[in-house]
């Protein structure tokens, strides 16, 4: 037992004395969270809009104020028309233009109807649609508020709700995905490299010759990375709560239990890789490159699995991160309990058991 403790202590020293390991361990999650949370968001924000108010009456000013109040727009006000609009788009300083015609509020009060024109840059259809939707919604809301009983007597109001993500926070889908990706890469890569390193150094030969049980070498390698990965997981949770304002709906305990299980899966995979290779380079290549792509593609947080042909969907079933992603999404974002994710949990458990058995069985008590 004392041997095991000393061995584990030694592993921690290796980690804390190697800047590269530390960087992969703790730099990678921070970088990924920041990247996915801020840079790679699918939300449309900071839209450059030009408002050409040819009417300058009370209503047009109020609508302009409403648009200003929303956090999506950066507003320029200028009276332009015709060819100037075209030029403004071509120069690229503007993503959309809102035009109030002259006599806007007069038309509204006398004729009961008035028009505003929204022009958006159609070269990026998704963004253009989003901008048009935003503006239509803002004007619609203003209309509802100003003339509640006006317009038609019968009308059907659509009332959309983004369930589990009322604020339309784009980072929400990414966080579970990033968690799965980071744990998968960090656990697998670092564990496999740490064992292969012993082989490269020749210290494995000594450890094998020692009375220390060979399987205990695996245990002493796995324990430190298990603990470090849990710390890592905590770090990601903290970052997503405090930096990306994600609301954790489910039980934290369940979240930790499921993550611990997934970390075990990754560790077993790492141990398995280390048994099969003899050079750090190979181990790193297999665990980083070989795992990165399947994890990104088959986890489902970037490319929806539902859209894939059945062959790829079948393959995705053997990628552990897919199941972890489903679990975390359900628990963290929807607040569901174990009774809703027991199937995924069971699949992960079976995977872990199989991988771990192979890793232990294949561990060589001799060289070669």
């Amino acid at each position: 037992m004392k041997e095991l403790l000393v061995f584990i202590k030694k592993e921690f020293k290796h980690v804390f004395r190697d800047p590269r390991t530390l960087l992969i361990m703790f730099g990678l999650p921070v970088a990924q969270i920041v990247l996915f949370g801020f840079a790679l968001t699918s939300e449309v924000k900071n839209i450059d809009i030009l408002i050409a108010d040819n009417s300058k009456d009370m209503i047009s000013t109020q609508i302009t104020d409403k648009i200003k109040a929303s956090r999506y727009f950066i507003i320029q006000e200028k009276n332009i028309g015709g060819t100037d609009i075209d030029r403004a788009f071509k120069r690229g300083g503007v993503q959309s233009v809102l035009i109030f015609p002259a006599n806007f509020s007069n038309d509204l009060s006398h004729e009961g109807k008035a028009q505003v024109q929204i022009i958006a840059d159609g070269t990026d259809p998704n963004t253009a649609k989003t901008i048009v939707n935003y503006l239509t919604a803002i004007i619609g809301a203003y209309q509802q508020e100003k003339f509640p009983t006006a317009s038609l007597r019968y009308q059907i109001l659509t009332e959309p709700r983004m369930l589990y993500n009322e604020e339309d926070n784009g980072s929400m889908n990414f966080i579970p995905g990033v968690m799965a990706l980071i744990l998968m890469l960090v656990c697998t890569a670092l564990t496999s490299v740490s064992i292969v390193k012993e082989k490269e150094l020749g210290t494995m030969e000594i450890l094998l010759v020692s009375p220390f049980k060979p399987v205990m070498v695996l245990v002493s390698k796995a324990v430190p990375y298990f603990i470090l990965s849990l710390i890592n997981f905590t770090l990601i949770l903290l970052l997503s709560v405090f930096l990306l304002h994600i609301d954790i709906k489910g039980s934290i305990l369940l979240l930790y239990m499921e993550s611990a299980l997934f970390i075990l899966t990754c560790l077993s995979l790492g141990l398995m890789i280390s048994n099969a290779t003899n050079a750090q380079q190979t181990a790193l290549l297999i665990s980083m490159m070989g795992m990165m792509l399947p994890t990104i593609i088959f986890t489902g947080f970037i490319f929806p699995l539902e859209n894939m042909p059945w062959v790829l969907r079948t393959i995705s079933n053997i990628v552990p991160s897919k199941w972890y992603f489903l679990i975390i999404k359900s628990v963290m974002l929807k607040g569901l309990g174990l009774q809703y994710v027991w199937k995924e949990t069971l699949i992960l458990m079976v995977m872990t058991a199989v991988l771990l058995t192979i890793a232990i069985k294949k561990f060589k008590i001799r060289l070669q």
């Binding site: 030694k10 150094l201 020749g202 030969e205 070669q368």
Partner: protein, 342 residues
């Protein structure tokens, strides 16, 4: 005294039998002996060590260490053997102290419990005990590695090329340490590619291409050198070597430092019917007159080829001379076997 290490007909191949690394090797090491495996790189020394330390399985043959079989009782052996692998380099990012403590614990002991055994070596590296192993000099690293191998008071110490890549002074110190360890009753098997280190062992096995050519004390191996040996040099040493080699009366001649070592065929005192590897070579007692005649003969060859600054003298053969002689015979038998196989 019973043999502590006994190796019988060991065969080890790699790459599914394509590469023969250890070829029917047999030898015994007595308790408390300092035994050397002498051979060039790739001779099969490390494979033998790994089989003895149970980390490699032989294709066939048996080996016992302290009475235990290396395959069946590998756990017992792992408790009794101290091993320093050839490429052993410790944990570079741990300090000397941490390395020692780690290995002591892994072997189920403490540094203090075995201080008497490692004190001499430990005292030398103690001033640097807080330095990381990666920052140590080669000699220092070897001392630390030796400490780690000794930490659990092994009955048998196996050192695979411990002095390779180490400076001359540290090498000398290292052998002094081995002598002291031997005095404490530890059986030591050490391998080295350096011939000059062979005479520091009590008995040596000369090994080449996985085959043991001779096992004896260094003194006996040297005495068994069948012919008189001469050292020659001239102003153009390379041409001199070529001239000697092309002469039909030359048996062997090879460059050796600044000299050429030569022996002649026309040696009436030697019985030439014994080129097998393991048999005892006869002791030679040449008449002084023969030596003079041969010296004169060699001088004449050199002079006929217009060499200047000629110096030729009779010398005592060393281990390396014996090794080269045995090696050429070993090659001859190998070639003979190959042709018969064909």
């Amino acid at each position: 005294m019973p043999a502590t290490v006994s190796v019988q007909n060991l065969i080890k191949t790699y790459d599914k039998g394509k590469v023969l690394a250890v070829d029917k090797v047999s030898f015994d090491v007595k308790a408390g002996e300092l035994f050397g495996l002498i051979g060039a790189d790739g001779a099969g020394k490390s494979s033998i060590f790994r089989i003895l330390t149970t980390v490699l399985l032989a294709d066939s043959g048996t080996a016992t260490l302290a009475g235990y079989d290396v395959v069946k009782d590998y756990r017992e052996i792992r408790n009794r053997v101290g091993y320093m692998p050839g490429k052993f380099s410790l944990y570079q990012d741990l300090t000397i102290q941490e390395n020692l403590e780690f290995f002591a614990t892994v072997f189920g002991t403490t540094i203090e419990a075995n201080m008497d055994l490692i004190r001499d070596i430990y005292d030398q590296i103690k001033p640097f005990s807080n330095r990381r192993a990666g920052k140590l000099s080669g000699g220092m690293k070897q001392k630390l590695a030796l400490c780690c191998a000794l930490i659990h008071k092994p009955e048998v110490l196996l050192l695979d090329e411990p002095t390779t890549g180490v400076d001359v002074v540290s090498r000398k110190e290292f052998w002094e340490m081995l002598k002291k360890l031997k005095a404490q009753g530890i059986t030591i098997i050490v391998s080295t590619p350096y011939m000059d280190e062979a005479k520091r062992c009590e008995r040596i096995a000369l090994i080449q291409n996985g085959r043991i050519m001779s096992v004896d004390t260094p003194g006996n191996i040297i005495r068994a050198y069948p012919e008189k040996l001469y050292a020659a040099k001239s102003d153009n040493i390379y041409r001199l070597l070529k001239d000697f080699r092309s002469h039909p009366e030359t048996d062997r001649s090879f460059a050796f430092g600044e000299y050429i070592h030569i022996s002649l065929k026309n040696d009436p005192t030697v019985n030439r019917q014994l080129p097998t590897a393991n048999c005892q070579l006869p002791t030679v007692n040449l008449q002084p007159s023969t030596v003079n005649r041969q010296l004169e003969f060699l001088n004449r060859i050199a002079a006929e080829n217009n060499h200047t600054g000629i110096q030729i003298k009779e010398i005592e053969p060393g281990i390396e001379d014996s090794f080269i002689l045995l090696m050429s015979r070993n090659d001859a038998t190998t070639n003979l076997q190959k042709t018969t196989e064909k």
